[in-house]
Amino acid sequence: MRKSHLWTLIKRIKKEKFLYIMVLPTLVYFFIFHYIPMYGIVIAFQDYSPAGGFFRSPWVGLEHFRNFFNSPYFLRLLRNTFLLSFYSLIFGFPVPIIFALLLNEVKNTIFKRTVQTVSYFPHFVSIVIVVGIMNIFLSPTDGLVNLLLQRLGYKPIYFMQEVRWFRFLYVSSGIWQNFGWSSIIYLAVLSGISPELYEAAIVDGASRFQRAIYISIPCLLPTIILLLILNIGNLLNVGFEKIILMYSPRTYEVADVISTYVYRRGLLEANFSFGAAVGLFNNIVNFILLLTANYIARRVTEYSLW
């Protein structure tokens, strides 16, 4: 029985050998760059010193994890990380879908192409520059936004300094930067929908809006769920680059996240084991979230990652 299984597999590989060859580079990539480096996780349980390396550094067990959980900032870091990510998800996730649906209805090709290109562009701008642009536009002394506010008779707002503005700025600038790029995948799905469906709907007298609701969205749904699950799996990954560029002690309260804390303690103080331990914790939580989201999606809808 087993043998015949193996036999069919070999036969299938032979038959589809070109497909398998095309997959090969990806597999090699994942093995070399994502699986081999995993042995580095051991330093999370060691007191890593560069001189000792992986083999001679002393083992400390779960000390670094305990350190992190007992840190006075643990809960705040967790809350900030989660909230920034969560807001980015609930406000940022629908935007590219809506954008793709709107763009799909545009019939003028030149206009459509232009809008698409313009909306992709911010994705290629580095984060440093995005934050630089924010600094220039929001500057309390000579920023455009504040000059306008002053003209209208309001007092200048210190956007980058005030606690209540931080999350809004972080999330909205993130949406601005990425919605165009993220909409590509939805546009691709939309362009793959058979025109016959729309034609049939037109014959039945469906309006444009109805066509979007009853044809476009259901066809998009598998993709939406797939991306949502993947995004939920990244919920605790908030990159430190942008936050480090944006925050200041006055906004630590809402801005300090796990990765910035790790940056200060792990990298700047060369405390690599601690950094690795927190990273591992982060990934385990993300993994659990991913499994949960996938489970719920499978139960509620018929679509899921696996």
Binding site: Y48, S49, P50, A51, G52, G53, N67, S71, P72, Y73, N135, I136, L138, S139, P140, T141, G143, Y158, M160, Q161, V163, S248, P249, R250, Y252, E253, D256, R264, R265, L267, L268, E269, A270, N271, F272
Partner: protein
Amino acid sequence: MYKRHIGLLVILIVSMIFGSVYSKPLVDKPVTLTFMRPDAENPVHSLTRETPLIWQWWEEATGIHIQPVDVVPEQDYKNVFNLKVAAGQVNADLIDVRSDNQGTQLVQYGRDGLLMPLNDLIDKYAPNIKALMKKYPKYKMDLTAPDGKIYAISSANASRYMFMTFLVRKDWLDKLGLKVPDTLEDFYKTAIAFVKHDPNGNGKADEIGMLSPDRLWGLNELACAYDLRLCTGGGFHIREDGRITYDFIMPEAKEFLKFLNKCVKDGAIPPYYDDPSVFTGAGSLFWQKIYDSQLGIYIRAIAPMVGPLNDPKGVMKKNDPKARWVATLPPLMPNGKRAKVTEQLAMRWRTYGITTKCKDPVAAIKWLDFVFASKEGREIYLYGKEGVTFKRNPDGSIERIVTIDTSKDEIATGPLAGKWWGSSITMPILSDDAWTEAQFKIWQTPSWAINSVKANFKYLVAPFQAPMLLPEEAKEVTTLLNDITTYKNEMWAKFVAGDIPITDENFNNYVNRIKQLGIDRIIEIYQKAFARVK
């Protein structure tokens, strides 16, 4: 026959050139050493593109070629360096070690075998550094690790001029009939007067009272008026009875917070005093404000800054010929005594070490000795090359032949920088009074400005510099201090901005929280370290 003559001539010329250039090289044959260090501050003079002239001149004098490797911008250096160390990929002969001021990394790298102990090398091959350490025992002590070894040479400062001070626009004071501020209250009143009475006379209310390029952290320098040391030394302070205090939680700190808060509220300090968007980047708004004649009091300036700011050929004078900057005295304390200003000797956060992988440690220590502590090496650093940039008068004094248009570089790198001797290629250098005075000569600094700086000499005091800690101690201190600093910075910023009112209750909560986070344990470790050195 004829050909042989030409050959002889060539040999003669070559030997003449080399004979004069390599008058007394430090090494028998040319040596190349690799040097891992951050890039020049001014990207125009990036080390990836050009070798600083000074390095070339040093090479001519020593026969040692320095090849920069792994050049990255200054702000990324510490990260890259840490990662390279962790990966065991530091292969350079000489390295710029970015340690913290406790010397934690020096001890660590020494123990891990990355850095070579220099004691014997200094003894045998570095007469100038040796003499220096004899002359300034404190310098040697500051660089000696708990195991008795010296792992790196640091920039050093024995110039009394190199302290942090407050600069004020004398011409504005005269115009408004004010005197140089003498107490904290004076600082406040002067700043308010500057803001209100349009001393730059352009009819616009664009004047700023006080500002520091180091943002809120820099404004803390004013706390010396309460006998608090909040900037240099990270808030730690050895009192006269030998007790160490953490000044951010002293009762006086509350009074100082109230002062800062008042300044911010009433506009003596502009509301963007801590806004990174105002201060980040070269040619920052801060310097624009100075050059546009909008700033009245410059908090936490390095005292020799009176040089470039009063330079008749500098940007400041070009923009506003009337501008005159003087240094104030440290403010009077509430008890009527004058506050102290802190000086600095060894700077452990900027040190240069020789790696254990170094091919030629003898040449490396000789080079460090030459550029760092020898008379010739420092002369090149300060004046350039004889016959090219300066000439020696019969009476022994030095005169510059080439004057460099520093104004072009200044905005990009700050006034203390310049292509020839400036900070864009900062090297370990011992500065002393003569060194700074020579710089004043270059800037043609008027004597009233120099005298205003000199008047501070009586009030100089050594900063807090803990002896290097044992690795276990250092680890405990950094871990505890990290959380404390995060909390302190956050609360301090909020107190000053008025986000949290400075009441007894709030302040006590803040003090208690810092105690909870383990400040007493850190002080205990420091006390122990001091006892060990004694």
